[in-house]
Amino acid sequence: MKKKLRNILLIDDYEADNYIHQRVIRLADVTEKITVKLGAREALDYLCEQIDGAYPNPEIIFLDINMPGMSGWEFLDEYVKLDEEQKAGIIVCMLTTSDASSDQEKAAQYDIINDFSNKPLTKKKLMTLIEQYFPDYL
């Protein structure tokens, strides 16, 4: 019996990407719930907010780097300050274009980034991630 993830959080200001990523995740049928936040600030608020006495604790955060206002990097700087119980399972950095080698270098400096992936997210990329980080869930 396949076990599903509880919650996947998408942080991206670009609604079209959110739509595509949501669709991919929904079709892959790997999670109970998909949460979408259009900005880093809202995402942090969401992570810190208790609902029914529990933090959301999404298993995966797909984080866009290039966002207006608070960028992905700034999100990560704030994220490390959160309580352990507020944090997520893994963080995957979504890079906008294949050429973002400087972004990749920067991403490598953040220990809390578990993986990075080029946009758009595809079913194949998603399944590889789950296989790697959540083998029990297959």
Binding site: Y14, A16, D17, I20, R23, T96, T97, D99, K119, P120
Partner: protein, 430 residues
């Protein structure tokens, strides 16, 4: 006072005037100031020494005459102004020397004027320069002969005074110095302005390159979104039997693909020379790698490629490789179907440069397109005949220019093409 002198120097100068001409106008005005000041000094000591009245009138006339060139400048006749200055300065000096005789040294003022034609006349006026300079020298020789052969050389007798001839000598020195001063001053300003301009240009160029990078980089995202949604539509409604819809999708896919290629091309173009440092490159080795990459194409087209012992140069590896690859691909690709390409890659060493030539026996390029082909997205043929995106040679041009070289083509239809490019040897800028 200095402000007035500056205003006087700038007579006839306005913003619409070419900087090179402006320099000459200011110099002519400055020279007139020097001339007038000198004449005034002469007038002063003439008065003190109570020289005869006609001599004083003559000096007065020469002062008024020296005002002519600035006046002409004021009325925007700057070339005539300069010529008139040469004429007036020379004429009055000669006349004055002849009038007052050799002892007061007025003839030596001609020396101070000798170099002026070289500055006043542009480089296109070589003969005029020689003429005016020669006139000065000949005038001097004539004056010397005149004094030597005629027993009473002075037309008007002025009592000889050692003081006056000493003052004159000093004036000549000051005149020459002042001339140098103005000349150097103008030139330095001119050079500084050019430096500023070229810095500005470099900055603009960097901005432009950055703009190309940003534009192509940011265009990719919406492109990707469109293409994702086309995929989604195909996935969800893909089993349609509607022929029209399939045609539309084919066009959308083709256009998207082309646009993606173009954007990627622009992006790569803006990145040429950014990724790496110049290094020593064994071109022989590099070229073999290129041929390796092109192996399939070479076999397919039965191309024959000649080359021998390519030199080791200093350059950007990825870029040089791309340059050779693009030129070789073109040489093989643009060929009549019934012809096998024969390509000759030759080179020679020039002072400061390596010159390379890739010669093919292909379809050739009409002469009026020889410049155009190096521009971005220029295609000379229908895609159905020769595939391509019009990027290759634009890349080649930028790569060659990165190596401080030039690229050009010699070709005519049906006679093949020779693509030449040069690469600067060991370059400090690289």
């Amino acid at each position: 006072m200095i402000k007035h002198i500056k205003n006087f120097q700038n007579l006839g100068v306005d913003s619409s005037i070419d900087r090179e001409i402006e320099k000459k106008i200011r110099l002519a005005n400055s020279m007139s100031i020097i001339g007038i000041s000198t004449a005034c000094v002469v007038l002063l000591y003439g008065l003190v020494a109570s020289w005869p009245f006609p001599v004083m009138i003559f000096i007065g006339v020469s002062i008024v005459a020296t005002l002519v060139p600035p006046t002409l400048n004021f009325f925007k006749k700057n070339f005539i102004s300069r010529i008139s200055f040469l004429l007036i300065a020379n004429g009055f000096t000669v006349a004055f020397a002849l009038i007052v005789g050799p002892d007061l040294h007025f003839q030596y003022f001609l020396f101070a004027l000798l170099g002026l034609p070289l500055i006043f006349l542009g480089k296109e006026n070589f003969q005029k320069k020689i003429f005016w300079s020669a006139t000065g020298i000949l005038s001097f020789i004539y004056i010397e002969c005149h004094f030597y052969f005629f027993e009473f050389p002075a037309l008007i007798n002025i009592p000889y005074s050692k003081t006056i001839s000493l003052i004159n000598d000093a004036l000549i020195g000051i005149m020459i110095l002042a001339q140098y001063y103005f000349f150097v001053y103008e030139n330095e300003h001119y050079i500084e302005e050019i430096k500023d301009k070229s810095n500005e240009l470099r900055e603009k160029n960097t901005q432009l390159e950055h703009f190309a990078y940003i534009a192509s980089h940011d265009l990719k995202e919406p492109m990707r979104t469109v293409s994702s949604f086309v995929d989604i539509i195909k996935e969800e409604y893909g089993t349609t039997t509607d022929n029209n819809l399939n045609t539309y999708f084919t066009f959308i896919d083709d256009s998207l693909k082309r646009m993606q290629e173009m954007i990627q091309g622009l992006l790569n173009y803006s990145r040429i020379g950014k990724s790496n440092q110049a290094q020593k490159l064994d071109l022989d080795h590099l070229f073999k790698e290129v041929l390796n990459d092109l192996e399939v194409l070479i076999k397919e087209e039965k191309a024959v490629i000649h080359y021998h012992d390519l030199p080791t140069i200093y350059g950007f590896k990825m870029e040089m490789q791309q340059l050779l690859q693009n030129l070789m691909t073109n040489a093989i690709k643009f060929q009549n179907p019934d012809h096998a390409p024969i390509i000759n890659f030759s080179w020679r060493e020039l002072s400061g440069f390596w010159e390379f030539c890739i010669e093919d026996n292909g379809i050739g390029i009409p002469e009026k397109k020889h410049k155009e082909i190096f521009q971005m997205f220029t295609k000379l043929h229908l895609s159905s005949k020769y595939q391509g995106n019009g990027i290759g040679l634009a890349f080649c041009k930028k790569i060659v220019e990165l190596h401080n070289g030039k690229i050009w083509v010699e070709s005519s239809p049906k006679n093949g093409s020779k693509f030449y490019f040069t690469i600067q040897k060991m370059n400090r800028d690289l």
